[in-house]
Assembly symmetry: C2
Homo-oligomer: 200 residues x 2
């Protein structure tokens, strides 16, 4: 059984959203699974000294334009939400819990949360918005709500983020294919060739 693809993403990352919609189908085309790793970009920014994109002069305004254009280029609906960016502990913790409890639902939950924020403009930093997304998939609302406040889940996410930064993850999306790292939704073509050829 070939190794799963390791996919790191922050729910406030438009490029993470674009890549998340593509990485599952990509993995399945090559008989791979995806290991979904929600991270918090703030921790990565601390490690690198980088600032959130919207706050960088010149690059910030360009980036918003590029996010919207890249979505159109990829044929994916994206509407830049307000507020942006947001804190993503709630959706990330929901993923940690569902990943353990209902692993076969984790991809659907991630895509539903991303669409809620980047298509429907729902502020998923609010725990109840995250619960509502999960409930919409038939997941146990009370269970998700409890998980968002569960100390063990908080610690799991914290450990996940620390492990990611320890592996060198500095941005979102960040995909690792057989040890080879690919940063950015615009590196999926390279990842695909890597999967097809076993490197290049």
């Amino acid at each position: 059984m070939p190794a799963p693809l390791e996919f790191y993403f922050d729910f406030s990352s438009p490029y993470g959203y674009l890549a998340a919609t593509r990485v599952g189908p990509l993995a399945r085309r090559f008989g791979r699974e995806v290991r979904w790793h929600p991270i918090l970009l703030g921790a990565a920014f601390k490690a690198t000294g980088m600032a959130p994109l919207p706050l960088v002069p010149l690059k910030g305004p360009y980036s918003v334009r590029d996010m919207e254009r890249s979505a159109r280029f990829m044929g994916i609906t994206l509407r830049m939400p307000q507020p942006f960016p947001i804190a993503t502990q709630a959706p990330a913790r929901a993923v940690c819990w569902v990943r353990r409890k209902y692993p076969e639902q984790v991809e659907a939950l991630i895509l539903a949360l991303y669409r809620a924020y980047f298509v429907d403009g729902i502020d998923i930093s609010a725990p109840e918005a995250t619960v509502s997304c999960a409930a919409g998939l038939g997941l146990d609302a009370a269970g998700v709500r409890a998980a968002l406040a569960d100390l063990a889940i908080k610690d799991e996410l914290k450990a996940e983020v620390e492990a990611a930064v320890g592996l060198g993850v500095f941005g979102s999306p960040y995909l690792v294919v057989d040890g080879e790292p690919f940063w950015g939704a615009d590196r999926l073509e390279q990842a695909e060739r890597w999967l097809a050829l076993g490197g290049f």
Copy 2:
């Protein structure tokens, strides 16, 4: 006559090198010309507060890997040179002079300088290395040498860099197609679709 493509690049930028090899043929496929704008990334970094890629923790080592892999992905020879990065006043000034004096040679000069640095490992920050590249194309060596020390050329480059930053140029390569900005060698496909469809 449709507007030329505006191409901004720094000679120390590997992604600038990758894009420079492609932007001329891309423009010609659409009956366009390229206006070549050598810039100095240091000035852009001052405007944005960004640091040179190799100095950013985590992202720096990833970037070198990505530069080499992206070159292989695009089928372009690139050998990361030492020293890297370098000051690029000399090759940029040579371009300013040749652009005015022998405009039909400017693309060949830019590609020769980029190849000298990123294929043959020649430190083109040295004025004589830049002169040698130009001479290799049959350009007047004494003329280029004089231009590198010419105050008018220094001022022209300075004005070029200031104008670029004023237009929002924050990185290399940076391509503007009919007012639409594309940053990065990995945005040439989007630029190509933009040229084909007049936007998307």
